[in-house]
Every structure is written in C-alpha cells, then in structure tokens.
Amino acid sequence: MTPVHAVIENVSRRGFLKGIIATGSLVIAAEFLPARAALAGYATGADKMPHGVRSDPHLFVSIAPDGTVTIVAIRSEMGTGSRTSLPMIVADEMDADWSRVRVVQAPGDEEKYGNQDTDGSRSLRHHIQPMRQCGAAARLMLETAAAKRWGVQPGEVTAQNHEVVHKASGRKLGYGELATDASALPAPAADQIKLKDPAAFRYIGKGATPIVDLFDITTGRATYGIDAKLPGMKFAVVARPPVFGGKVVSFNADAAMKVPGVEKVVTIEGTPAPAKFQPVGGVAVIARNTWAAIKGREALNPTWDDGPNGSYDSAAFKGQIEETARRPGKVVRNDGDAEKALASAAKVVSAEYYIPHLAHATMEPPSATVRIADGKCEAWACVQSPGGTREELAKKLGLKEEDVTVHVTLLGGGFGRKSKCDFVLEAAVLSKAMGGAPVKVIWTREDDLRNAYYHTVSAERIDAGLDGNGKVVAWRHRSVAPTILSIFKPDQTHEAPFELGMGLVDVPFDIPNLRCENGEAEAHTRIGWFRSVYNIPHGFAVQSFVAELANATGRDPKEVLLALIGPPRIVDPRKSPEVADFWNYGDPFETYPIDTARLRRVVELVAEKADWGRKLPARHGLGIAVHRSFLTYVATVVEAAVDDKGHVTVPRVDTAIDCGFAANPERIRSQIEGAAVMGMGLALYGEITFKKGRVEQSNYDSYRVLRIDESPPITDVHIVPAGIEVPSSGVGEPGLPPFAPALCNAIFAATGKRIRRLPVGDQLAA
C-alpha cells in the first residue's frame, strides 16, 4: 500500500490532505470505540473519518424551559433529507414530540461535532447508531433528573412523548421542566444507555416525517448560499480563465469601472496545479448589485494565456483513451488466468464503451458570502464540507481556525460540486480586497458549466471468453479514466483504489478467470466527484456488457445476469493480491460485505415488480441492470420506447433497493425517483466537451438536463425490508449507476441498436 492509498482509505471528499496529517482520527476513535462496543452495534468507518464521530447529547440537544427541543444537524442539506433524518433519529430515541422539535444547522466545527462532510452517501449510514445513542443518552439524562427530583429510583420512571412519568404515583414532568437539571448531568456511560426497542419507534423507519424545511421551501423563505443578506454587502462575479490553468494577460478595468454600480475590479491569483480546492483565478468585478457586476464583467474584455491545457480536445482524447484501453494496463485484480482462458475460449465477445465528462449543474450555482471584521472571518455558504471550508479559509486568510465561522445554508443541489470550496475562497479573497466588507460571489450558469470540477471521462473495454455452452469463463475489463487524485497531487495517471473500488475490481461475478486493468490517462481539467463517481463508467460498461453477452448467446438478459452473479456467497476481492488495498467505501468489509444473495434479491425483486418479460408494444423494450455502490444494492428495470425518428421515451421505471435498514423510507423513495430522472438526462444528453481547452457548453440549452415532459411518468421504488440490525447503507448516490445501462439495454431490446457511447444523443436518429 503506498502512502497515498493508505490515506484514501479514510478519505472523504475534501479530506485528502487532511488525511495525510490525520492527527485527530485516532484520538477520536479511541473516544468513540468503547461507546460503540457497548451499543452492541456494528462497526462502521465513521470513527475513521477525519475528526471522527460524536454522540454526546450535550453537543446535539438543548431544551428550552417551554419544552422546545433543539437538535443540531451537522450534515448539509442538499436534497437527501439528512438535515431531517439525523435529528429525527435523536428525537425518536429521546421520546421527544417531533412537533416540538426545532432543528438548527451546525456551523463548520469538526473538533466539536466530528466529521461534517456530506458526501459519499455516508450521513445516515455513519450516524444512525451515534444519533440513536445520543437520543437514548438524552432520554436517560431526563429520566435521571426526574427521578432525582422525585426521590425515586431511576428505574421507576419512564420518558414518553416529551415528558417523564412516574407511573406508581402518576406524577409527570415535561422535558422543559427537567431541562436545567438534565443538562447539568454528565453524559451517561455507554453501558448505561439502553436503545429503544424498534417496535416502539415513532419516527424512525416510518417515512412519515416531512423535511424540516418543507414550509419554508414552499413559501420562498428557505435560505440557500446565494440568498445571504448582510448590511453593506457587495456583489461579485468573476471572469475566470476559459482554460484550466490559464492566466489573465490583460483586461480593461476602466471600462468595467465605468458601469454604474461597479466599485472595484480585483485580480484573483490562480494556483498552479494541483490546486485542490483553490480558486482558478481571474478578474473579479465587485458592484452594488449582481446586475452591475455582470455588466461590469462584460466590459472587462480580458485576454488569456491558456497554458498547457490549451490544446485539450475531448474528441481527440476519446480516441487516445480508447486506444489505451486496447492495450494491457496496470493489473488491478487478477483471479485465475484470464489471458489464457481468453486465448482458449470457444467464443470471445468484446465491447468498448465511452462515458464523457459531466457537469453537476446544480440548480443553485456555487455562491458564497464572506465578511472579515476584527480579525475574524464569517462565511455563509452552500458547502458540503463546512469543516474543510473553514480550514481552507483560515489558511487562505492567515487566521486561526477558531476565528473562522462557516454558516451552512441550504444547498440548492450538491452532487459533489459543493464538496469543493473554491467559490468560498474567492469570496474571502474579495472581501479582503474590500477591506473586509461582506462580498457575495455569484457564479452564473455559464461560469458553473465552464469552470466546474468535471466528472471524469472514461473508455472501458471488456473482453469475455465463453466456453462451448456459452458460459463465461474469462473476463477482462480495462478501464481508462483520469483520476480525481490529479487535483491533489502531480503526475497522477491511474485510478486510485477509491475509484477502482467503484464497480471495477469489486465486480461480483462468478467467473474463475477475472482480470481488471487500468491504463494511464492524464487529466487536462479539474476532475471531481460527481454523484456516484466512478460507478458511472464502470457500472455502465459492466451492465451493458452483460446484456451484450445475453444477446451473443441468445439468452434472457436477466438470466445471464443472475448466472454471472452466481450462487449466494460473499465475494471478497481482496483475495486477489492486486486488490489488497480494496476500498469498501471507507467502511469495514465485515459489516458491509459484497453479498451476492442481496444482489440476486434486488434483481429478482425488480424483475417481479416490473413483470420482467411483460408484453410490450412494438419499438418498446425492457432493460435490466444491477449495481452495488456505496454498500447498497440497486436493480433497475427501464421500459424504453423509441419512435421511428429515434426519439426515446421512458414510460416506466422500476427500481429495487436494498440499503439495509431504511430509516426514512419516504426520502429513500424520493432519492431513487430523482436518480431515475437525473440518470435519464445524463444518459440521453449529458456531455461536456472541450475544444482548445475550452468547454463548449454554456447553459441549459447546450447542456441539456431532463425536463418534466420527458421524465418517466412512473418510477416505482421497491425497498427491500430489513430490520434495524441490518446496517444502513448509502442512498444518495447508488440509484444512479444502474439507470443508464438499464436504459441502453432497453433501447437495444426495442431497436436492436446498441449504445456504447454516452450520451445517446442523436445516435438513434433514423
């Protein structure tokens, strides 16, 4: 294991460099471990994240004299519901009445709250146990306070629905009346805490708790990053280099200053690659309102030195990485002898796939406001990584972390984009240039699409050897894609373990000779996490290829899929020495193994619910795909219809998901419904292309996303039931990877045309 890989083991989306330093984690782990052991729960990777995890009710719960319970949400809300679900778990365990609970958002403070990165589909899975423990501890403290007050044994009193009751005497005390006494008590030792019997849950697992921001969202009161309002606030837009790594040569500051309302023109220095989350640089126009700033920027007329990426051409790059995938690469998994088995196979099936760059295109573009006063910095920002943002702000401004406050707003979509705090650092630089006045940086949609952190671009080639009976005896999968490591370290040309573990080396198939290779690819732009990350290309290739094998052998795709998965068992990729550093989404393999019984179950469940094989009109077809990602198993059946002009519609989608215990089934459904919509938009239209280093797309006309009239009218979500003892796993991301292959498999079933290059675009046009 190289040091880089060791770090990535525990990495969160911002935490690469943090991980290298990694001073805090062990201490935190030591604090947390005894508590967890006493819970008789299961081990997760939560305590190995930077700054670990907390469960002390003193940090999370406060009670006002009127009984209002305030619970702190430590994860950012970007649509998954974690800002509701985590506090809801605390409330249920402490027997609080949800209608008397208020949720407040924690500022970025990981020393206090533990890891706050909202990424990797981790929030619920890493917090269901600590939040239960927190709530149960709070309940015990309230009961202890009441028992003391009455002079009775703690065992004689019970908390229920916001009050503590002494049954024998019929006495009752509301939580508000007990707050002061209870809060003075130390958090109980872990072995004193008793979790609720799941049968007594009121909120957990019910899916009947609306998100806390629902009223505010529907009335326009909800506050996102772009909505910050501060006295004396200035508004800024930035002209950024059109090519990543480029620098400004000249610009007309005078022309910009002539625009009424423009107050200052400021150059922002770029950072040489690898630049992690630093601004790309450029020229900022600061004005009294956004419109003046935009008009001022139009007057700047900058010229640029494009730098080394000025020749990046994604069409040419496609040819390069496809060529690389035709040659042997670095072996990253090797079971048996795939080369020999391929050479002696009765039949060899081969296919190449191409998956382009994507942009997140969150509805709220990046936006942040920063103010610096009296040596202290305050930021209001839509960030997935408030702790990391605080750290970076402190470094950028030469302040101590305790002098930096990051207020976390709601996020108008995140999808990985807002794990990178470059836009907050821009606001900090500009506030400083304005003598500390509050400055709001707004990215226009064009900025968002042209200066993003892009999803990687990938060529995938799979060769399979079949014996005389059509059974797959050899599998060789070559993946070639620029790595996210390239934003952190120079000269990174191979996918990292945390990327290889997303659907490549963890392929769960029962094939004796199985080899995965990874060829070299250089990054020519900023590569970043995008919802479900490398599962997108890996999953697309693998699950498309399964249907190709079915076609090649004249069998039913679902049967071929199940045959490849093979009998119920635990697949442990680490048995191949090349996968010694296997990345299981940062969680212990023992808690979250690759269980083919569960994989089979979602395939069988979705096939049953979708009535797989059902009779369809002409030019309609069904496609199936299954993918385990973020420790969750998801199978999707798509019905596609392709008209004689090649226009694709999707009348129906069925998805089965096994994410262990479903703490908030209603939000799980919404995530999976949404993944179908996003997945369909990406598959049909999603592509960022580069010419002369410049992104060719600029807004929602050239970078199309799915609209309501194209959206599947029916998306049915089937959640595999599981008890609370089954570890909860990720939900935000795993719905996405199986969608595109299921769609393209359905298109093939409808038309006989195989899509190997995404997006579908006009490839079906007659």
Partner: protein
C-alpha cells in the same frame, strides 16, 4: 424612475432600467425566494407572476414593468397556504427545494387558467421549469391534487 407593485406594495426604482426584475427583487428588495438558475429563461427558477401571468424574471427588464403588478413566491398567499403550496407539502415534493418556488409559481398560474389540467397540459406548462433533483413525478401529482382539492 419606474413604479411597480410588488406583492401589493408600491415600489419605485431609479437605477439601471435594463436591470432584470430578478436582480431587482433579490438584491434591491431582498425578496430572495425568486431564484437565479440560468439568466436566460431556460430553467424557470425565477418564475413570478406579472399581472397574473407566469413570467421569467431573469429576462424581464425593470423598465418594462411600469404600472405592472408583480407577485413573487413570498406574496402568492399571505399564509403560504395556496392550494399548490399545500399540495406540494402534502406530497413531499421538494428535495433540495431550490427550483420549487419557480415550479409553484408556474403551477399556480397554470391552475388559474386551466382548472383541471391533463397530463399533457401539465407537461406543456411545466416543461420550462427544470428540477435537477428530479421531483417531476411528484410535481405532476401535486398539481393534480391541487386541481381536484384531493
């Protein structure tokens, strides 16, 4: 000087007449419920009502609004209980929520002209409003629910 009614209140503005209503609402009046998403009428996040008609605030210059009446999400219903708002909540439509003000304003305008819209009419009216989270299935259901009072 442009005089315009916003949520029932007279306002006057003597700044840049080319300023889009969107930035006037957000930066000058502090009405941030109306969202920026694209700036060129491609996404619908900035939808408001002008004299009752659903309109994209991002491409509507303030100079075109003299004597007109603008309603934003903040003014749609005093208590936030417009039938569309209620059905949006009953069906848990939002995920991140950012586009929802625009969606709600568009849907509310649809229901004033089309009391019981068909799926096609819903698609036609709503296809200019993008939701990146993908809440479309619930948006359709919520509009139907609001229309029927169900």
């Amino acid at each position: 000087m442009v005089k315009v009614r916003v949520n029932g209140q007279e306002q006057s503005f003597d700044g840049d007449p080319s300023m889009p209503l969107l930035w006037y609402l957000r930066d000058e009046l502090g009405l941030t419920g109306t969202k920026y998403g694209c700036g060129v009428a491609l996404c619908g996040a900035c939808t408001v009502h002008i004299d009752g008609q659903a309109t994209r605030a991002c491409i509507t210059a303030i100079s075109d609004l003299g004597g007109r009446s603008v309603t934003t999400i903040e003014g749609l219903d005093r208590d936030g209980n417009h039938p569309v708002q209620k059905s949006w909540r009953a069906l848990n439509v939002p995920q991140c929520g950012y586009c929802q003000a625009g969606q709600i304003m568009q849907a509310a305008a649809l229901l004033t002209t089309t009391k019981n819209p068909s799926e096609t009419e819903i698609n036609d009216a709503m296809s200019g409003n993008i939701c990146r989270c993908g809440c479309y299935q619930r948006i359709t259901a919520a509009i139907k629910a609001a229309a029927t009072g169900a």
